[in-house]
Symmetry: C3
Subunit: 158 residues, 3 copies
Amino acid sequence: MTSPKERLRELGITLPAPPPPAASYVQTRLTPIGDGRSLLYIAGQVSADGDRFLTGRCPDEVPVEEAAQRARACALRVLAQVEAAVGLDQVEQLLQVTGWVLSTDDFGDQPKVMNGASELLVEVLGAAGKHTRAAVGASALPFSVTIEIAAVAVVRTG
Amino acid sequence: MTSPKERLRELGITLPAPPPPAASYVQTRLTPIGDGRSLLYIAGQVSADGDRFLTGRCPDEVPVEEAAQRARACALRVLAQVEAAVGLDQVEQLLQVTGWVLSTDDFGDQPKVMNGASELLVEVLGAAGKHTRAAVGASALPFSVTIEIAAVAVVRTG
Amino acid sequence: MTSPKERLRELGITLPAPPPPAASYVQTRLTPIGDGRSLLYIAGQVSADGDRFLTGRCPDEVPVEEAAQRARACALRVLAQVEAAVGLDQVEQLLQVTGWVLSTDDFGDQPKVMNGASELLVEVLGAAGKHTRAAVGASALPFSVTIEIAAVAVVRTG
Protein backbone atom coordinates (compact mmCIF):
# COMPACT_ATOMS: atom_id res chain seq x y z
CA MET A 1 0.00 0.00 0.00
CA THR A 2 1.48 3.29 -1.07
CA SER A 3 0.53 6.45 0.81
CA PRO A 4 -1.40 9.34 -0.71
CA LYS A 5 1.78 11.40 -0.84
CA GLU A 6 3.68 8.63 -2.62
CA ARG A 7 0.82 8.36 -5.11
CA LEU A 8 0.91 12.11 -5.69
CA ARG A 9 4.62 11.77 -6.40
CA GLU A 10 4.07 8.84 -8.77
CA LEU A 11 1.38 10.84 -10.56
CA GLY A 12 3.76 13.78 -10.83
CA ILE A 13 1.31 15.99 -8.99
CA THR A 14 2.25 18.81 -6.64
CA LEU A 15 -0.64 19.86 -4.44
CA PRO A 16 -1.49 23.54 -4.80
CA ALA A 17 -1.24 25.77 -1.75
CA PRO A 18 -4.63 25.52 -0.03
CA PRO A 19 -6.40 28.67 -1.20
CA PRO A 20 -7.71 31.00 1.51
CA PRO A 21 -11.48 31.40 1.62
CA ALA A 22 -12.88 33.86 -0.93
CA ALA A 23 -15.15 35.41 1.68
CA SER A 24 -16.44 35.24 5.28
CA TYR A 25 -16.13 31.54 5.95
CA VAL A 26 -13.50 28.89 6.71
CA GLN A 27 -12.16 26.20 4.39
CA THR A 28 -12.54 23.26 6.76
CA ARG A 29 -14.42 22.31 9.91
CA LEU A 30 -13.55 19.25 11.99
CA THR A 31 -15.79 17.63 14.59
CA PRO A 32 -14.99 14.48 16.63
CA ILE A 33 -17.36 11.49 16.37
CA GLY A 34 -15.59 9.26 18.90
CA ASP A 35 -12.85 6.63 18.73
CA GLY A 36 -10.24 9.11 17.49
CA ARG A 37 -12.22 9.87 14.36
CA SER A 38 -13.75 13.11 13.10
CA LEU A 39 -15.98 14.41 10.36
CA LEU A 40 -14.18 16.91 8.14
CA TYR A 41 -16.31 19.33 6.14
CA ILE A 42 -14.57 21.05 3.20
CA ALA A 43 -15.89 24.33 1.75
CA GLY A 44 -16.73 24.65 -1.94
CA GLN A 45 -13.50 24.78 -3.98
CA VAL A 46 -13.73 26.62 -7.27
CA SER A 47 -11.83 25.90 -10.48
CA ALA A 48 -8.69 28.03 -10.61
CA ASP A 49 -5.06 27.91 -11.62
CA GLY A 50 -3.21 29.58 -8.78
CA ASP A 51 -4.93 32.94 -8.33
CA ARG A 52 -6.58 32.94 -11.76
CA PHE A 53 -10.17 31.66 -11.84
CA LEU A 54 -10.92 29.17 -14.62
CA THR A 55 -14.21 30.47 -15.94
CA GLY A 56 -16.75 29.74 -18.64
CA ARG A 57 -19.76 27.62 -19.36
CA CYS A 58 -19.75 23.98 -20.44
CA PRO A 59 -19.82 22.92 -23.27
CA ASP A 60 -20.08 26.13 -25.33
CA GLU A 61 -17.18 28.03 -23.83
CA VAL A 62 -15.39 25.10 -22.19
CA PRO A 63 -15.52 21.66 -23.87
CA VAL A 64 -16.26 18.60 -21.73
CA GLU A 65 -12.65 17.34 -21.71
CA GLU A 66 -11.34 20.70 -20.54
CA ALA A 67 -14.11 20.96 -17.94
CA ALA A 68 -13.12 17.51 -16.63
CA GLN A 69 -9.53 18.78 -16.26
CA ARG A 70 -10.88 21.72 -14.28
CA ALA A 71 -12.91 19.39 -12.08
CA ARG A 72 -9.64 17.53 -11.45
CA ALA A 73 -8.04 20.85 -10.47
CA CYS A 74 -10.91 21.48 -8.02
CA ALA A 75 -10.39 18.02 -6.53
CA LEU A 76 -6.69 18.84 -6.03
CA ARG A 77 -7.77 21.87 -4.05
CA VAL A 78 -10.08 19.68 -1.97
CA LEU A 79 -7.06 17.46 -1.26
CA ALA A 80 -4.91 20.51 -0.46
CA GLN A 81 -7.48 21.58 2.12
CA VAL A 82 -7.58 18.09 3.64
CA GLU A 83 -3.76 18.02 3.77
CA ALA A 84 -3.68 21.42 5.50
CA ALA A 85 -6.38 20.43 7.99
CA VAL A 86 -5.36 16.93 9.08
CA GLY A 87 -2.98 15.41 6.50
CA LEU A 88 -3.95 13.21 3.58
CA ASP A 89 -2.72 10.07 5.38
CA GLN A 90 -5.50 10.52 7.92
CA VAL A 91 -8.39 10.13 5.49
CA GLU A 92 -10.40 7.05 6.43
CA GLN A 93 -13.17 7.60 3.89
CA LEU A 94 -14.28 10.35 1.60
CA LEU A 95 -18.04 10.33 2.16
CA GLN A 96 -19.71 12.90 -0.04
CA VAL A 97 -18.73 15.03 -3.02
CA THR A 98 -21.10 17.64 -4.45
CA GLY A 99 -20.16 19.14 -7.80
CA TRP A 100 -21.75 22.09 -9.59
CA VAL A 101 -20.92 22.51 -13.28
CA LEU A 102 -21.59 25.85 -14.99
CA SER A 103 -23.78 24.54 -17.81
CA THR A 104 -25.81 25.61 -20.80
CA ASP A 105 -29.45 24.64 -20.29
CA ASP A 106 -29.32 21.63 -22.60
CA PHE A 107 -26.04 20.20 -21.27
CA GLY A 108 -26.35 16.84 -19.50
CA ASP A 109 -22.81 15.49 -19.27
CA GLN A 110 -22.08 16.78 -15.76
CA PRO A 111 -21.19 13.18 -14.74
CA LYS A 112 -18.42 13.04 -17.38
CA VAL A 113 -17.10 16.38 -16.20
CA MET A 114 -17.16 15.37 -12.53
CA ASN A 115 -15.35 12.11 -13.33
CA GLY A 116 -12.25 14.27 -13.68
CA ALA A 117 -12.55 15.00 -9.96
CA SER A 118 -13.73 11.56 -8.84
CA GLU A 119 -10.95 9.69 -10.63
CA LEU A 120 -8.25 11.94 -9.20
CA LEU A 121 -9.60 11.45 -5.67
CA VAL A 122 -9.39 7.67 -6.01
CA GLU A 123 -5.98 7.79 -7.74
CA VAL A 124 -4.57 9.72 -4.79
CA LEU A 125 -6.49 8.31 -1.81
CA GLY A 126 -7.04 4.76 -3.07
CA ALA A 127 -10.08 2.93 -1.66
CA ALA A 128 -10.44 5.68 0.98
CA GLY A 129 -11.12 8.11 -1.84
CA LYS A 130 -14.27 6.40 -3.09
CA HIS A 131 -17.25 8.66 -2.47
CA THR A 132 -20.92 9.23 -3.05
CA ARG A 133 -21.56 12.06 -5.44
CA ALA A 134 -24.17 14.48 -6.65
CA ALA A 135 -23.26 16.19 -9.94
CA VAL A 136 -25.59 18.97 -11.03
CA GLY A 137 -25.69 21.83 -13.47
CA ALA A 138 -25.70 25.47 -12.39
CA SER A 139 -26.69 28.52 -14.41
CA ALA A 140 -24.34 30.76 -12.42
CA LEU A 141 -21.39 30.19 -10.09
CA PRO A 142 -19.03 32.45 -8.10
CA PHE A 143 -16.74 34.49 -10.39
CA SER A 144 -18.30 32.52 -13.29
CA VAL A 145 -16.00 29.57 -12.57
CA THR A 146 -16.65 26.39 -14.53
CA ILE A 147 -16.77 24.11 -11.47
CA GLU A 148 -17.34 24.22 -7.72
CA ILE A 149 -16.85 21.14 -5.52
CA ALA A 150 -17.64 20.68 -1.81
CA ALA A 151 -16.92 17.52 0.21
CA VAL A 152 -17.29 15.68 3.53
CA ALA A 153 -14.79 13.08 4.79
CA VAL A 154 -14.20 11.02 7.89
CA VAL A 155 -10.62 11.28 9.14
CA ARG A 156 -8.44 9.89 11.93
CA THR A 157 -7.60 12.55 14.49
CA GLY A 158 -6.07 10.29 17.13
CA MET B 1 -45.74 -0.93 14.04
CA THR B 2 -45.40 -2.37 10.57
CA SER B 3 -41.94 -2.67 9.02
CA PRO B 4 -40.80 -0.73 5.94
CA LYS B 5 -41.07 -3.89 3.84
CA GLU B 6 -44.63 -4.55 5.04
CA ARG B 7 -45.50 -0.97 4.20
CA LEU B 8 -44.01 -1.35 0.72
CA ARG B 9 -46.19 -4.43 0.28
CA GLU B 10 -49.31 -2.60 1.53
CA LEU B 11 -48.53 0.26 -0.86
CA GLY B 12 -48.14 -2.25 -3.71
CA ILE B 13 -44.60 -1.01 -4.35
CA THR B 14 -41.73 -3.16 -5.54
CA LEU B 15 -38.38 -1.50 -4.96
CA PRO B 16 -36.39 -1.10 -8.16
CA ALA B 17 -33.01 -2.81 -8.42
CA PRO B 18 -30.51 -0.34 -6.96
CA PRO B 19 -29.04 1.27 -10.08
CA PRO B 20 -25.25 1.12 -10.48
CA PRO B 21 -23.48 4.48 -10.39
CA ALA B 22 -23.56 6.39 -13.70
CA ALA B 23 -19.88 7.25 -13.37
CA SER B 24 -16.74 7.07 -11.18
CA TYR B 25 -18.30 7.06 -7.74
CA VAL B 26 -20.16 4.75 -5.35
CA GLN B 27 -23.84 4.78 -4.47
CA THR B 28 -23.46 4.64 -0.68
CA ARG B 29 -20.84 5.31 1.97
CA LEU B 30 -21.23 4.17 5.58
CA THR B 31 -19.24 5.46 8.54
CA PRO B 32 -19.67 4.42 12.21
CA ILE B 33 -20.50 7.09 14.79
CA GLY B 34 -20.46 4.84 17.86
CA ASP B 35 -23.06 2.77 19.72
CA GLY B 36 -23.72 0.49 16.73
CA ARG B 37 -24.91 3.38 14.59
CA SER B 38 -23.54 4.80 11.34
CA LEU B 39 -24.05 7.70 8.99
CA LEU B 40 -25.11 6.53 5.53
CA TYR B 41 -24.51 8.89 2.62
CA ILE B 42 -26.50 8.18 -0.56
CA ALA B 43 -25.35 9.47 -3.96
CA GLY B 44 -27.62 11.58 -6.15
CA GLN B 45 -30.37 9.39 -7.64
CA VAL B 46 -31.79 10.59 -10.95
CA SER B 47 -35.33 10.17 -12.24
CA ALA B 48 -35.55 7.04 -14.39
CA ASP B 49 -37.82 4.13 -15.16
CA GLY B 50 -35.53 1.11 -15.19
CA ASP B 51 -32.75 2.02 -17.62
CA ARG B 52 -34.67 4.84 -19.28
CA PHE B 53 -33.99 8.34 -17.95
CA LEU B 54 -37.10 10.44 -17.28
CA THR B 55 -36.11 13.75 -18.77
CA GLY B 56 -37.53 17.22 -19.38
CA ARG B 57 -38.00 20.55 -17.71
CA CYS B 58 -40.74 21.46 -15.24
CA PRO B 59 -43.39 22.75 -15.85
CA ASP B 60 -43.15 23.32 -19.64
CA GLU B 61 -42.16 19.81 -20.69
CA VAL B 62 -43.19 17.98 -17.52
CA PRO B 63 -46.20 19.23 -15.52
CA VAL B 64 -45.90 19.53 -11.74
CA GLU B 65 -47.98 16.39 -11.00
CA GLU B 66 -45.85 14.27 -13.33
CA ALA B 67 -42.65 15.78 -11.90
CA ALA B 68 -43.88 14.87 -8.38
CA GLN B 69 -44.32 11.26 -9.59
CA ARG B 70 -40.77 11.33 -10.86
CA ALA B 71 -39.54 12.68 -7.52
CA ARG B 72 -41.33 9.72 -5.94
CA ALA B 73 -39.47 7.40 -8.33
CA CYS B 74 -36.17 9.02 -7.29
CA ALA B 75 -37.06 8.46 -3.64
CA LEU B 76 -37.72 4.77 -4.40
CA ARG B 77 -34.20 4.59 -5.78
CA VAL B 78 -32.88 6.22 -2.62
CA LEU B 79 -34.71 3.50 -0.65
CA ALA B 80 -33.35 0.81 -2.98
CA GLN B 81 -29.81 2.02 -2.24
CA VAL B 82 -30.47 2.02 1.50
CA GLU B 83 -31.92 -1.50 1.27
CA ALA B 84 -28.86 -2.72 -0.65
CA ALA B 85 -26.44 -1.04 1.77
CA VAL B 86 -27.87 -1.90 5.19
CA GLY B 87 -31.54 -2.88 4.88
CA LEU B 88 -34.53 -0.57 5.23
CA ASP B 89 -35.30 -1.92 8.71
CA GLN B 90 -32.06 -0.42 9.97
CA VAL B 91 -32.96 3.21 9.26
CA GLU B 92 -33.07 5.13 12.53
CA GLN B 93 -33.60 8.55 10.96
CA LEU B 94 -33.44 10.03 7.52
CA LEU B 95 -31.55 13.26 8.19
CA GLN B 96 -31.19 15.26 5.00
CA VAL B 97 -32.71 15.20 1.53
CA THR B 98 -31.48 17.53 -1.20
CA GLY B 99 -33.58 17.72 -4.36
CA TRP B 100 -32.76 19.44 -7.64
CA VAL B 101 -35.65 20.01 -10.04
CA LEU B 102 -34.91 20.80 -13.72
CA SER B 103 -36.87 24.06 -13.94
CA THR B 104 -37.73 26.90 -16.23
CA ASP B 105 -36.43 30.18 -14.83
CA ASP B 106 -39.80 31.35 -13.54
CA PHE B 107 -40.85 28.06 -11.93
CA GLY B 108 -41.17 28.15 -8.14
CA ASP B 109 -43.10 25.02 -7.21
CA GLN B 110 -40.08 22.84 -6.47
CA PRO B 111 -41.55 22.14 -2.98
CA LYS B 112 -44.70 20.63 -4.54
CA VAL B 113 -42.56 18.51 -6.83
CA MET B 114 -40.31 17.32 -4.01
CA ASN B 115 -43.33 16.44 -1.87
CA GLY B 116 -43.68 13.43 -4.16
CA ALA B 117 -40.40 12.18 -2.75
CA SER B 118 -40.89 13.32 0.85
CA GLU B 119 -44.32 11.73 1.20
CA LEU B 120 -43.12 8.40 -0.17
CA LEU B 121 -40.18 8.35 2.26
CA VAL B 122 -42.51 8.82 5.24
CA GLU B 123 -45.09 6.35 3.89
CA VAL B 124 -42.42 3.66 3.72
CA LEU B 125 -40.17 4.48 6.68
CA GLY B 126 -42.76 5.96 9.04
CA ALA B 127 -41.46 8.48 11.60
CA ALA B 128 -37.88 7.42 10.76
CA GLY B 129 -38.47 8.75 7.26
CA LYS B 130 -39.07 12.36 8.32
CA HIS B 131 -36.21 14.52 7.03
CA THR B 132 -34.90 18.03 6.58
CA ARG B 133 -34.96 19.12 2.98
CA ALA B 134 -33.59 21.61 0.54
CA ALA B 135 -35.53 21.78 -2.73
CA VAL B 136 -33.97 23.94 -5.43
CA GLY B 137 -34.27 24.55 -9.13
CA ALA B 138 -31.54 23.64 -11.61
CA SER B 139 -31.05 24.88 -15.16
CA ALA B 140 -29.32 21.66 -16.19
CA LEU B 141 -29.03 18.15 -14.73
CA PRO B 142 -27.26 14.92 -15.78
CA PHE B 143 -28.81 13.41 -18.92
CA SER B 144 -31.43 16.21 -18.70
CA VAL B 145 -33.34 14.25 -16.04
CA THR B 146 -36.22 16.04 -14.36
CA ILE B 147 -35.07 15.32 -10.79
CA GLU B 148 -31.98 14.40 -8.83
CA ILE B 149 -32.12 13.55 -5.10
CA ALA B 150 -29.25 12.92 -2.66
CA ALA B 151 -29.67 11.95 1.01
CA VAL B 152 -28.00 11.29 4.37
CA ALA B 153 -29.40 8.90 6.99
CA VAL B 154 -28.38 7.48 10.34
CA VAL B 155 -28.72 3.69 10.47
CA ARG B 156 -28.21 0.84 12.91
CA THR B 157 -25.19 -1.27 11.99
CA GLY B 158 -25.02 -3.33 15.16
CA MET C 1 -17.61 35.68 26.60
CA THR C 2 -21.11 36.89 25.88
CA SER C 3 -23.79 34.35 24.97
CA PRO C 4 -25.54 34.20 21.59
CA LYS C 5 -28.67 35.68 23.14
CA GLU C 6 -26.73 38.58 24.68
CA ARG C 7 -25.13 39.20 21.29
CA LEU C 8 -28.54 39.19 19.61
CA ARG C 9 -29.65 41.79 22.15
CA GLU C 10 -26.52 43.91 21.57
CA LEU C 11 -27.11 43.71 17.82
CA GLY C 12 -30.73 44.78 18.37
CA ILE C 13 -31.95 41.62 16.65
CA THR C 14 -35.11 39.74 17.56
CA LEU C 15 -35.11 36.23 16.17
CA PRO C 16 -38.11 35.58 13.93
CA ALA C 17 -40.53 32.84 14.90
CA PRO C 18 -39.12 29.63 13.38
CA PRO C 19 -41.19 29.24 10.23
CA PRO C 20 -43.06 25.95 9.81
CA PRO C 21 -41.93 23.82 6.85
CA ALA C 22 -43.40 24.88 3.49
CA ALA C 23 -44.15 21.29 2.60
CA SER C 24 -43.83 17.61 3.62
CA TYR C 25 -40.63 17.72 5.64
CA VAL C 26 -39.30 18.84 9.03
CA GLN C 27 -37.17 21.87 9.81
CA THR C 28 -34.54 20.10 11.93
CA ARG C 29 -33.22 16.61 12.57
CA LEU C 30 -30.95 15.76 15.49
CA THR C 31 -28.83 12.64 15.82
CA PRO C 32 -26.45 11.80 18.70
CA ILE C 33 -22.76 11.18 17.92
CA GLY C 34 -21.67 10.30 21.46
CA ASP C 35 -20.32 12.27 24.43
CA GLY C 36 -23.50 14.33 24.80
CA ARG C 37 -23.12 15.81 21.34
CA SER C 38 -25.37 15.60 18.27
CA LEU C 39 -25.42 16.54 14.62
CA LEU C 40 -28.21 18.99 13.85
CA TYR C 41 -29.41 19.21 10.25
CA ILE C 42 -31.39 22.32 9.32
CA ALA C 43 -33.73 22.39 6.31
CA GLY C 44 -33.36 25.00 3.58
CA GLN C 45 -34.57 28.39 4.87
CA VAL C 46 -35.86 30.77 2.22
CA SER C 47 -35.66 34.56 2.20
CA ALA C 48 -38.84 36.00 3.69
CA ASP C 49 -40.06 38.79 5.93
CA GLY C 50 -42.59 37.14 8.23
CA ASP C 51 -45.01 35.39 5.89
CA ARG C 52 -44.04 37.39 2.80
CA PHE C 53 -41.45 35.75 0.55
CA LEU C 54 -38.63 38.05 -0.57
CA THR C 55 -38.40 37.24 -4.25
CA GLY C 56 -36.47 38.28 -7.33
CA ARG C 57 -33.27 37.59 -9.20
CA CYS C 58 -29.85 39.02 -8.38
CA PRO C 59 -28.60 41.51 -9.54
CA ASP C 60 -31.22 42.64 -12.09
CA GLU C 61 -34.26 42.63 -9.80
CA VAL C 62 -32.44 42.63 -6.46
CA PRO C 63 -29.09 44.45 -6.14
CA VAL C 64 -26.19 42.71 -4.41
CA GLU C 65 -26.47 44.76 -1.18
CA GLU C 66 -30.17 44.01 -0.85
CA ALA C 67 -29.56 40.33 -1.64
CA ALA C 68 -26.91 40.24 1.12
CA GLN C 69 -29.53 41.62 3.54
CA ARG C 70 -31.86 38.84 2.47
CA ALA C 71 -29.13 36.26 3.01
CA ARG C 72 -28.79 37.72 6.52
CA ALA C 73 -32.54 37.26 6.99
CA CYS C 74 -32.21 33.61 5.90
CA ALA C 75 -29.39 33.12 8.41
CA LEU C 76 -31.65 34.54 11.15
CA ARG C 77 -34.17 31.87 10.24
CA VAL C 78 -31.46 29.23 10.44
CA LEU C 79 -30.68 30.53 13.96
CA ALA C 80 -34.38 30.56 14.85
CA GLN C 81 -34.59 26.88 13.89
CA VAL C 82 -31.50 26.06 15.97
CA GLU C 83 -32.96 27.97 18.94
CA ALA C 84 -36.26 26.07 18.63
CA ALA C 85 -34.51 22.70 18.31
CA VAL C 86 -31.81 22.83 21.00
CA GLY C 87 -31.12 26.45 21.98
CA LEU C 88 -28.46 28.72 20.50
CA ASP C 89 -26.24 28.30 23.59
CA GLN C 90 -25.79 24.65 22.70
CA VAL C 91 -24.05 25.22 19.36
CA GLU C 92 -20.54 23.82 19.52
CA GLN C 93 -19.71 24.42 15.87
CA LEU C 94 -21.59 25.35 12.75
CA LEU C 95 -20.13 22.91 10.23
CA GLN C 96 -21.61 23.50 6.80
CA VAL C 97 -23.67 26.22 5.13
CA THR C 98 -24.99 25.81 1.59
CA GLY C 99 -26.44 28.89 -0.07
CA TRP C 100 -28.33 29.15 -3.35
CA VAL C 101 -28.72 32.61 -4.84
CA LEU C 102 -31.34 33.21 -7.55
CA SER C 103 -29.03 34.63 -10.21
CA THR C 104 -28.92 35.90 -13.76
CA ASP C 105 -26.65 33.71 -15.86
CA ASP C 106 -23.74 36.13 -15.86
CA PHE C 107 -23.85 36.94 -12.13
CA GLY C 108 -20.82 35.77 -10.14
CA ASP C 109 -20.99 37.64 -6.84
CA GLN C 110 -22.78 34.90 -4.88
CA PRO C 111 -19.94 35.02 -2.30
CA LYS C 112 -20.66 38.71 -1.58
CA VAL C 113 -24.35 37.92 -1.22
CA MET C 114 -23.74 34.98 1.09
CA ASN C 115 -21.39 37.05 3.26
CA GLY C 116 -24.56 38.67 4.58
CA ALA C 117 -25.45 35.29 6.08
CA SER C 118 -21.95 34.23 7.11
CA GLU C 119 -21.17 37.45 8.94
CA LEU C 120 -24.42 37.35 10.90
CA LEU C 121 -23.76 33.75 11.96
CA VAL C 122 -20.36 34.68 13.37
CA GLU C 123 -21.67 37.89 14.96
CA VAL C 124 -24.27 35.89 16.88
CA LEU C 125 -22.50 32.59 17.58
CA GLY C 126 -18.91 33.87 17.85
CA ALA C 127 -16.17 31.37 16.99
CA ALA C 128 -18.76 28.56 17.10
CA GLY C 129 -20.46 30.23 14.14
CA LYS C 130 -17.54 29.85 11.74
CA HIS C 131 -18.49 27.44 8.98
CA THR C 132 -17.51 25.92 5.67
CA ARG C 133 -19.63 27.17 2.84
CA ALA C 134 -20.70 26.49 -0.70
CA ALA C 135 -22.30 29.48 -2.43
CA VAL C 136 -23.84 28.77 -5.82
CA GLY C 137 -26.19 30.35 -8.30
CA ALA C 138 -29.61 28.92 -9.11
CA SER C 139 -31.80 29.65 -12.10
CA ALA C 140 -34.97 28.92 -10.12
CA LEU C 141 -35.83 28.61 -6.42
CA PRO C 142 -39.02 27.84 -4.44
CA PHE C 143 -41.57 30.67 -4.72
CA SER C 144 -38.89 32.59 -6.71
CA VAL C 145 -37.17 33.60 -3.46
CA THR C 146 -33.81 35.35 -3.79
CA ILE C 147 -31.97 33.05 -1.37
CA GLU C 148 -32.18 29.59 0.17
CA ILE C 149 -29.78 28.44 2.90
CA ALA C 150 -29.39 24.98 4.47
CA ALA C 151 -26.96 24.11 7.29
CA VAL C 152 -25.45 21.40 9.48
CA ALA C 153 -24.17 22.02 13.03
CA VAL C 154 -22.81 20.02 15.94
CA VAL C 155 -24.56 20.82 19.21
CA ARG C 156 -24.41 19.82 22.88
CA THR C 157 -27.40 17.71 23.87
CA GLY C 158 -26.04 16.69 27.21
